[in-house]
Every structure is written in structure tokens, then in C-alpha cells.
């Protein structure tokens, strides 16, 4: 094919590409419209369709360890009565399905879409009553940060560190950092006590107090330290390492320069 021959043709050389793109946009758009449609249809937590979808997902992805009816096996606990909150936390943060057996389930990129997580959650919730996914006004950070900070120091800081930087537990277990956990997941963790975390029920810390704790953590997440780089919020260990390596390192380099013989 040479240039002159191509010019004689009726169609523009890019017409095929344009047609393909158009087709893809239509198909994709139609798919997106259709799938949002189904999501809206399934937003109803108690709808039979949602629960059915959830059950299918559960049997395909979770039943190996938790049993076909979520009754539990030797490899995983029963999930009857854990509630939607527990599932939304464990699956929504990628801890479940578990990557491997270990001291505790590791966080990883979530395996399911948001909508699938909800389907799983409402399926498990349908098996027995348990804590529900919290309402939006409890997790959007609109509470009293000062009260939340005090509650956090008293109830959470001994494991998660006072700045939420995380901390070590025994036998290789640990309390994860809270620097980028969403409000919903923080709330769900408090009510369900995942991994080694204790449960903070509503008599222990009221829903409003939980909202305040989330408000404080959101404040810390959204406002960088006024003093400059935080060095991981790890306190004196990071500061000591920094002054020895970078502070004293820089100064020793300068002493070498000062006493160097001029050429």
C-alpha cells in the first residue's frame, strides 16, 4: 500500500479506529449503566436478591474455611451472629479472604468490589443478629475531637500508639497503624473486635463517643504535623536515629571538609 492508493479510498484512514472507539464507548457505557442499575437495586440490605448473591459469593470464596452454611470448620470460626459490620471490616480492608495462616490476618488490597462486600455482609447478617454497618453520621468525623482524643489515649493508645502509628503485640501480632483507615472501618473494628482487638460495645463506649474517636483520628489524618515531617510518628526512636545518621552525619562531613588540606 502506498500513499497515492490510500488517498483514492472513500473512507478516512482513521475511520476504523474511530468506529472501534465509538463501539467500545457504547458497550462500556451500557455496561456501566446496567451495573449501577443492579447496584441500586441491591442497595436494599434485606432484599432476598442481595442475600442470594452474597450466599453465592460466600460459597465460592469463604466456605472452604468457614463452612458452606458459615457454621465454621476446624480452619475457621463460625460466622453466625458476627453481623454485617464484621464482614464489611474483614473483607472491606482485604484481611479476608486470608492470604495465609499467620499470627494475624494481613491487610492487602480488597479482593471484592464494594457492592460484593455488602452482599457478603448482608448474607452473613441474615444468618443471625449482630452489629450492623454504622450509619453515616457516626463515621463522618463530625464529633468532638478533644473528647475523642482523650478516649483514644485511655482506650486505644496502649496498642495503637498515642499518635495512631501502631505498635507491637506478643508472638508477632501487632496493632496496625491508623493513619489511613476509613471512619466506617474504625467504627466496625471497635464494635466487632477483629483479630486481637477487644470489643468496645455500646455500653463501654457509646456510639457518640465512638464518633468522637473517629473525629480525632480523622483530624490527625487530615492535618499534618505543625512541626514539619513526622518521621513516621514513631517518637524518640525515629528522632534518635535521625540525629545520629543525618544530623551528626552531616556535621561529621562538615568537620572533614573544614580540616581538609587545601590543594
Amino acid at each position: 500500500m502506498n500513499r497515492s492508493k490510500r488517498r483514492t479510498g472513500r473512507r478516512h484512514p482513521l475511520a476504523t479506529v474511530a468506529l472501534l472507539a465509538l463501539g467500545l464507548v457504547f458497550t462500556g457505557g451500557a455496561y456501566a449503566a446496567l451495573s449501577t442499575g443492579t447496584a441500586q437495586a441491591e442497595a436494599e440490605p434485606t432484599s432476598q436478591a442481595t442475600i442470594e448473591e452474597g450466599k453465592k459469593l460466600f460459597q465460592a470464596n469463604c466456605a472452604t474455611c468457614h463452612g458452606l452454611e458459615a457454621q465454621g470448620t476446624a480452619n475457621g470460626p463460625s460466622l453466625i451472629g458476627v453481623g454485617a459490620a464484621a464482614v464489611d471490616f474483614q473483607v472491606g480492608t482485604g484481611r479476608m479472604p486470608m492470604q495465609m495462616q499467620g499470627p494475624q490476618a494481613q491487610q492487602k488490597p480488597p479482593q471484592f468490589e464494594d457492592e460484593q462486600v455488602k452482599q457478603l455482609a448482608y448474607y452473613v447478617a441474615s444468618l443471625g443478629p449482630g452489629p450492623d454497618i454504622p450509619a453515616d453520621h457516626l463515621v463522618n468525623g463530625g464529633g468532638d475531637a478533644a473528647n475523642g482524643a482523650e478516649l483514644f489515649r485511655i482506650n486505644c493508645a496502649m496498642c495503637h500508639n498515642v499518635a495512631g502509628a501502631g505498635g507491637a503485640l506478643t508472638e508477632g501480632k501487632f496493632a496496625p497503624p491508623l493513619t489511613d483507615v476509613s471512619g466506617v472501618h474504625i467504627y466496625e473494628a471497635m464494635v466487632t473486635g477483629p483479630q486481637n482487638m477487644p470489643v468496645f460495645n455500646d455500653l463501654n463506649i457509646s456510639p457518640e463517643d465512638k464518633r468522637d474517636v473517629i473525629t480525632y483520628l480523622k483530624y490527625v489524618q487530615d492535618n499534618r504535623s505543625p512541626g514539619g515531617f513526622e518521621l513516621g510518628s514513631l517518637g524518640p526512636v525515629a528522632e534518635g536515629l535521625f540525629i545520629w545518621i543525618f544530623g551528626l552525619g552531616a556535621i561529621v562531613a562538615i568537620t572533614v571538609w573544614i580540616t581538609a588540606k587545601s590543594n
Binding site: A157, G167, A168, L169, G172, I243, L248
Partner: protein, 535 residues
């Protein structure tokens, strides 16, 4: 002076000349300046480490003075009403509230506070490095033993300054630290509880401790430190500075640029560099964010609670003690989980302080030493130093055991057990490895002095033999390698009454331990013999 007078006759006297004449006529400073200004200061980067400590101390004094204008050392309770939202309305002590005000509501306050704290960390770190330099080059030998003791005292005082300052804001982290100190004191048999009540003015935490620590922090400790710094520096002038062996450098002289003008200009500039580095760090990196720690309250304890780095070794020692080391005897609890670390650290500190005297006794060397050793030429001392460093480093690392565990995905127990091994077995390993490495390096030096460097040039002789041509050393380099003291184990000699005392035996044993394995410096005879063999 004569040039000034002659110029005086011909032209107008300059202001500087007039001023210095005015001052000199009233103080006779000229002789002193002339004497001091002509002191030579040998040039080596490691000789500036003490200056780093001095200059960071000056930065601490300047920034600290600013902080005293605004800090209130009171434990009266107030409700915070400053601009940091997550603490608004929270009950806290005036000390904490005024530290928050310094951080958020006083112009430049946070910067100065951070600079003060970073300078404190640098102060103690540079003292540490300075002491290591003194130790490993043998610069503590006669006549400088007392200056070693003074310097070490300042190291301890600097830690005291650091700890008292760290405790002043009355935040959660420092309160936890004070609680550990309280526990340590209470763990001392008989006097512990009384001492704790005396210190805190009643049951911990009380309402007195911040005020008391403040007096120590800004009055007593700095006053002693300044006095000791003065004595330390006078001693440096009196003893002259040590220098490394090189042609023309002897035990009687000090070779280097004179203090005036070269050295003073360099040191003055160096002060501003240190000030600048600290200002840069303080403006970019958060230190001790008390606003995230919150006010002290005895009930919460945060994960990852550590002291500042220089107290870390003590915290680490507590963490390494296995569980259950306490028992009840005579109706009292004996806390060996506290006593053992206290005693171990106490012995370590005493050994470091008296090391110069131990070494002098073992070597029996009464001479003055102004030439600094290369560490390899004193293998046993270097090995002892390495063992001490390993011991300290193991304790120090243990203070961050939880952070080591989370950041390297290890178990806490594994980290603790590994560090227990480092603290107990590590020093012995470090000792043997270092000693062997030193002796190997000495052997290499000896080889180079006798036969020169390997040049990599292979020559075939007429007979078919291949040899590598060695490049002989020039005299300057050779001087550096051969001039060190050769010690030998002391002989046991009976005393005047014809008896061999236990002390004598101990000393001979120690001396044998020090000098049994040794590489003697190359002698002139050996050098000549090797030269005639080569040519």
C-alpha cells in the same frame, strides 16, 4: 605592637588599634592573647567533635533562654484554651498548657522549642562520638586522665539535663518516663520508697515534680556543666592537644595552625554552621509532638513509649530482664528485675570512668603521651572498647524492641531473645574479632614497611623467574606506620621483703592479657636488613 606605634607617628590611629590599646592598658590582656593565640591546634576532623558538643550546648543555652520566657513550671490544673483543636477544653497542668502555647500561639515558639530539643539530641550524640575518639586513640593517657573523668561526668550531667528537660512539658510520653524512674527508685531496697516520696513530694506524680525538675534543668545542672566545660577547656590548653604521629610531630610539640587567626576563624565559622544545621533540622522535622501525646494522666500508657536516645540504654536494660525476677523475703518484695539492670549499668559506668587508671596500672607506663594511637596499635584496648560499644549498643537497641518487631515483621520475643544474646555474648565476640582484626592490620603495616606496596608490576627475570616489583614507602608514610609504643608483659618481681603479693600477680596477669599477642613496630635494624635484601 611596634608596627602600630610606627604607624602611629605617621598617620591617624585606626579605631581597632586605639580600642585594643585602651583595653590592654587597663587589663594587660595582650600577653594572654599573644600566648593563647599562638597555641597550635592540630588539624584532624575527629578533633572537632568536642567542639560540636560545645557549640550545640551554646545553641541549647540560647534557645533555652527564649523558652524560659514563656514556660511555666507549674502543675496547677487548667482547661486548655489555645488554638490546638483536639485538646480544647482538656484538663491539663499549666506546664503542659504553656508548652502548647509555646508551640502554637507564640511566634517562633515551635521552631525554638524544636531547635532546643534537636540541639539536645545532637549535644549528647556528639559527646558520645567525642568520647569514642578519645578512647580509641588513647588520648586519655597521662596527663589527661582527669580530663577524661571530667568529660565523662559531663556526659552523665548531659543525660540528666536531657531527662529533666524531656520531663518538663508534663505530657503523656514524659510522664510515662517519669513513672519508670519512679519505679526504678522504688525498686531500691530499704530507701527506695522514702526516696521516691522525697523526690515527688508525696505519692507519684504529685504536684511538685515539674517545678523541682525545672530548677535542676535551668539552674543547677547548667551551672555545673558550664563550670566543668571551663575546666575541661583549660585542661586542653594546659596539656596541649594530642596529635597523630607524623614527621616533625613529637611528644614535646603540637603541630598545626595557630589559634589566632586561622583556627579561631575556622571554629567561629563552625559554630554558625552547627547553628545553621540545627535551625534547618528544627524547621523541617517534628520533634516531641506533645500535642499528639496529650497531657499526662497516670492511667494511659502508649505503645512505643521510649525515652530520648541517650536514656535508651537504661530502658533497654529493663526490657531485657526475663519475667519473674522478683521474690518476697523478710516480708519485702525484692525486685531483681530492677536491681540487676541498675547494678549492671552502674558497674559499666564505673569501669568506663576508671579505665584510664586501670590501663595505666596494667601497663606500668608513667610517661606522658601526646601522640594519639592508631586504634590498631593498641589491640587489647581497641578490643575492650569494641566489647563496651557492643554491650551499650545491645541495651540501646533493646529500647526500640517493639519498633524493631513491627518494622521488620519479627516477633517481640524473638527480638528480645536476640538482644539478650547480643548483650551477653556479643561483647566477647566483639572483643576477639576486633583484637584479631587489629593484629592482622598491624601485620599488614609491618609487611608494607619492610617490603613496600605491591605495585602489580610483574617482571620476568633472565633465569625465567617471575617476581612482583614492590613499591618502597616514602619516609613520611613510613614514619606513620612505625612510630608507636612497644609494650611487653610486666615481669613479676618480689617486693622489698622478698614476697610476691597478690596484687603483683594480678597485675602481671592483666599485663600478660594485654600484651601477650603483640606485633612489635619495625626497628631500624630490621628496616636496613630488608633494604639490603631487596637491593
Amino acid at each position: 605592637m611596634s608596627t602600630i606605634t610606627s604607624r602611629d607617628d605617621t598617620q591617624k590611629r585606626s579605631f581597632t588599634a586605639a580600642a585594643s590599646t585602651y583595653v590592654n592598658e587597663r587589663t594587660s590582656l595582650a600577653g594572654f592573647v599573644k600566648e593563647l593565640g599562638r597555641k597550635a591546634f592540630p588539624d584532624h576532623w575527629s578533633f572537632l567533635l568536642g567542639e560540636v558538643a560545645l557549640f550545640s550546648f551554646v545553641v541549647i543555652l540560647i534557645t533555652g533562654t527564649f523558652l524560659t520566657f514563656f514556660f511555666q513550671a507549674s502543675m496547677a490544673e487548667v482547661h486548655y484554651d489555645g488554638s490546638y483543636v483536639p485538646l480544647k477544653g482538656v484538663e491539663m497542668s499549666v506546664a503542659m498548657a504553656s508548652t502548647l502555647d509555646i508551640s502554637f500561639d507564640i511566634r517562633g515558639g515551635l521552631f525554638v522549642r524544636q531547635m532546643h530539643h534537636w540541639a539536645a539530641l545532637l549535644f549528647v550524640a556528639s559527646i558520645g562520638l567525642h568520647m569514642l575518639r578519645i578512647f580509641f586513640t588513647g588520648a586519655f593517657r597521662k596527663p589527661r586522665e582527669l580530663n577524661w573523668v571530667i568529660g565523662f561526668t559531663m556526659f552523665i550531667l548531659a543525660m540528666g539535663e536531657g531527662f529533666t528537660g524531656y520531663s518538663l512539658p508534663d505530657d503523656l510520653l514524659s510522664g510515662n518516663g517519669l513513672r519508670i524512674i519512679d519505679g526504678l527508685i522504688k525498686g531500691i531496697p530499704v530507701i527506695g520508697t522514702w526516696t521516691s516520696f522525697l523526690l515527688f513530694g508525696g505519692e507519684f506524680p504529685g504536684t511538685a515534680i515539674v517545678g523541682r525538675l525545672y530548677t535542676l534543668h535551668i539552674l543547677l545542672l547548667p551551672a555545673i556543666l558550664v563550670a566543668l566545660i571551663a575546666i575541661h577547656l583549660v585542661f586542653v590548653v594546659v596539656h596541649k592537644h594530642t596529635q597523630y604521629a607524623a614527621p616533625g610531630k613529637t611528644q614535646q610539640n603540637a603541630v598545626g595552625p595557630p589559634i589566632l587567626p586561622i583556627y579561631a576563624a575556622k571554629a567561629g565559622g563552625f559554630f554558625f554552621i552547627i547553628f545553621g544545621v540545627l535551625a534547618l533540622i528544627a524547621s523541617m522535622f517534628t520533634i516531641n509532638p506533645i500535642w499528639s501525646y496529650g497531657p499526662y494522666d497516670p492511667s494511659p500508657v502508649s505503645a512505643g513509649t521510649q525515652p530520648d536516645w541517650y536514656i535508651g540504654f537504661a530502658d533497654g536494660a529493663l526490657r531485657l530482664i526475663p519475667p519473674g525476677w522478683e521474690f518476697v523475703w523478710l516480708d519485702r518484695t525484692w525486685s531483681f528485675n530492677i536491681l540487676v539492670p541498675l547494678i549492671a549499668i552502674g558497674i559499666f559506668i564505673v569501669l568506663v570512668v576508671i579505665y584510664p587508671f586501670i590501663e595505666a596500672w596494667v601497663t606500668g607506663d608513667k610517661r606522658e603521651h601526646h601522640i594519639a594511637d592508631r586504634p590498631r596499635n593498641a589491640p587489647t584496648r581497641t578490643a575492650i572498647g569494641a566489647a563496651g560499644v557492643t554491650f551499650y549498643a545491645g541495651l540501646w537497641a533493646a529500647a526500640s524492641s517493639d519498633i524493631l518487631a513491627t518494622h521488620f515483621s519479627l516477633t517481640m520475643e524473638g527480638v528480645i531473645h536476640a538482644l539478650q544474646a547480643v548483650v551477653i555474648i556479643g561483647p566477647f565476640l566483639a572483643y576477639f574479632i576486633t583484637k584479631r582484626v587489629c593484629i592482622a592490620l598491624q601485620k599488614k603495616d609491618r609487611e608494607i614497611v619492610l617490603h613496600g606496596y605491591e605495585s602489580g608490576r610483574i617482571v620476568k627475570l633472565p633465569g625465567g623467574e617471575f617476581i612482583e616489583v614492590h613499591q618502597p614507602l616514602d619516609e613520611y608514610d613510613r614514619w606513620r606506620l612505625v612510630s608507636y609504643d612497644a609494650y611487653q608483659p610486666l615481669m613479676i618481681r618480689p617486693n622489698a621483703r622478698g614476697k610476691i603479693t597478690v596484687g603483683q600477680k594480678l597485675r602481671a596477669g592483666m599485663s600478660r592479657w594485654f600484651f601477650e599477642d603483640r606485633i612489635a613496630p619495625v626497628t631500624r635494624g630490621e628496616l636496613e636488613a630488608s633494604h639490603s635484601a631487596h637491593h
